[in-house]
Symmetry: C2
Subunit: 363 residues, 2 copies
């Protein structure tokens, strides 16, 4: 059945050790590149190759979908913005387009559940599950058949990307109202109270914040009953976009492809993905720490230390793409730097006091 994931392998341990050792031979003081060294070890271990190949095809996939709960005043923007932003992505006018171009990544946009009559190119709607998802404070987000369709779509999308040569994946989100189901999923899986996960999203005022808190409270009451079953959780309080994203993140790990996580929505999908496919998180790094309060719970649950902390709260994959050049640098340092022997550079006259790069240190 398509919602059952195979056993997830770990990144390659011998390559991990070999890369830690290679860092000590490169022409720099041991450990002096700090977290960049750890990120380089992560990339090499994912590829099973030391030195790692510089990324050839980093890809951002945006999962767009509307959410019924947006009709109940939980967002500062109207639902029509989801469809308008899909057109904006396709025209290259959104933040993720400018940022991905700078980082050398390409962007793919998919309508999983946008509530629109707009006619997008067939490539955009190929994996569409439905128009909008149910209002999770009062009804299920998806039917049994729809949640299976969304998970199947997410896995297929990851397979398409990896088969197409993608060697680094980023999942971006677009959907007015989507921080409400994301917060519910996080609270359900982290065992948190509603007040700990309510954020301002795109910038709701105090009245909107109270409506959002109430919707999260009601959604969470419905979620608690199914929180031990990740597929049922996505059906009850997720949505087609988030379910597909969770499956995409899990399938990236199946396909041994490293992922940079973005913020709140990507984090909620990641928490569920780790339930769908335990061990998938070994293939992910956290691009940044979001302003959204529930994101801290994601980082804690997944034991991930964010690379950046820049007060971002946009989504679309922007916080992951912002960190991509650092991963690229980390890989190229290992691939391109000379060793002490190669360059004829003298080593230390004082012995190395301690090894600064720890196994698993990127976490």
């Amino acid at each position: 059945m398509s919602t059952d994931f195979p056993h997830i392998p770990t990144p390659d341990a011998p390559t991990h050790r070999e890369t830690v050792a290679r860092h000590l031979r490169l022409t720099k003081p041991a450990g002096s590149l700090g977290r960049l060294e750890e990120l380089g070890v992560f990339v090499a271990a994912c590829q099973g190759q030391c030195p790692p190949r510089p990324f050839a095809r980093p890809r951002v996939v945006i999962f767009a979908g509307d959410h019924g709960v947006a009709a109940h005043g939980v967002s500062a923007f109207p639902s029509e913005v989801t469809a308008q932003m899909v057109s904006n992505f396709l025209a290259g006018g959104a933040a993720i387009n400018a940022m991905a171009a700078t980082a050398g990544a390409t962007v793919r946009v998919l309508d999983l559940a946008v509530d629109t009559d707009d006619a997008y190119p067939e490539a955009v709607t190929a994996h569409k599950v439905r128009r909008s998802s149910g209002s999770i404070d009062r009804e299920d987000a998806l039917t049994d058949a729809e949640v299976v369709a969304a998970i199947t779509a997410g896995r297929a999308i990851a397979d398409e990307e990896v088969d197409g040569g993608a060697d680094l994946l980023i999942a971006g989100d677009m959907g007015i109202g989507n921080t409400t189901p994301a917060a519910v999923l996080i609270a359900a899986l982290a065992g948190a109270e509603p007040v700990a996960v309510v954020g301002r999203g795109t910038g709701v005022d105090d009245q909107g914040w109270m409506r959002k808190a109430a919707a999260i409270r009601d959604g969470l009451r419905r979620a608690r009953k199914v929180s031990a079953n990740p597929v049922a959780l996505l059906r009850t309080v997720g949505g087609a976009d988030i379910a597909a994203m969770a499956a995409f993140l899990a399938q990236a790990a199946v396909r041994k492809t490293p992922v940079i996580l973005d913020g709140l929505v990507s984090g909620a999908a990641a928490l569920v993905a780790e339930e769908l496919a335990p061990g998938a998180s070994e293939w992910w790094v956290a691009g940044h720490r979001s302003v959204e309060p529930a994101h801290a719970l994601v980082l804690e649950q997944l034991n991930l230390k964010p690379i950046l902390d820049l007060d971002l709260r946009l989504g679309e994959g922007t916080g992951a793409v912002a960190a991509l050049p650092l991963l690229s640098m980390a890989a190229r340092v290992l691939a391109e730097m000379a060793t002490f022997d190669d360059a004829g550079v003298s080593g230390r006259t004082i012995p190395l006091p301690e090894l600064k790069v720890k196994n698993g240190g990127w976490r």
Copy 2:
């Protein structure tokens, strides 16, 4: 006289205001790109143009020089490594080469005071002041004529770069022992005790740390007498490389060119540069927070908030180059994103609660 800098202009205030306003019209929730928005405003205000031009020629200039104090056991590496690393930079095998290439920057290496018989290309030695600088724990780093020569060199180098089209400058350091004079300069200007500024540099052991602490104590005793005069301070406890770097950073501001500061040595030079040319720091952002304890004093004195915090302690400009893609993204977001009107994206249905981007917010 070449050590007198002209009045430093501020980045353009009307452009600053115009860029803050432009951010509100771009297709994203107001303030949702956090510090990236502030960095974009900084770039635009430096250029006096909204939207800013994406960087055409970001440049890293490495100031290489030896330090007499290295003979007294303050570093984990022997002095000959400075010359060997200059050759490594020229061959493209150092960390800064791989990282700058990823960020789209080019690297220039200059021998200001390397203690070597190696024959470098003339372009590398064109601004050479002397072989090594004096051991600052017991003698002046430079003569009166040499400090003037080094400052003149630093200004000329900045002028050459800006005249050559550089629109973003980074000063990198290379010099075994250079964290000792850097720590003394910082302690002298921040009014700190030696113990607050002694770091591990390239990784000295406890014995080396004690020798370094003693050298800093002795250097600081000599520095205190001249700490009100930045030129005398550079002559007494700086060095030709650091003096040239300080003048380069000040002259970048004279030439209205933005700078990303690196870590400890670049920070020490920056503190002195702000004394040489008050207001120069308005043209700088801090690329990262170094592991070196004295670097925190630099950030505090200059009121700069680092972009990255990745446990780096390499120098060469690596911590600044690591942040360069984020500045590039910040500029391209302003230059390339559609506005709500352009893209036909609906605005907020709930009014904006507060303006998130503050004037001068990048500091």
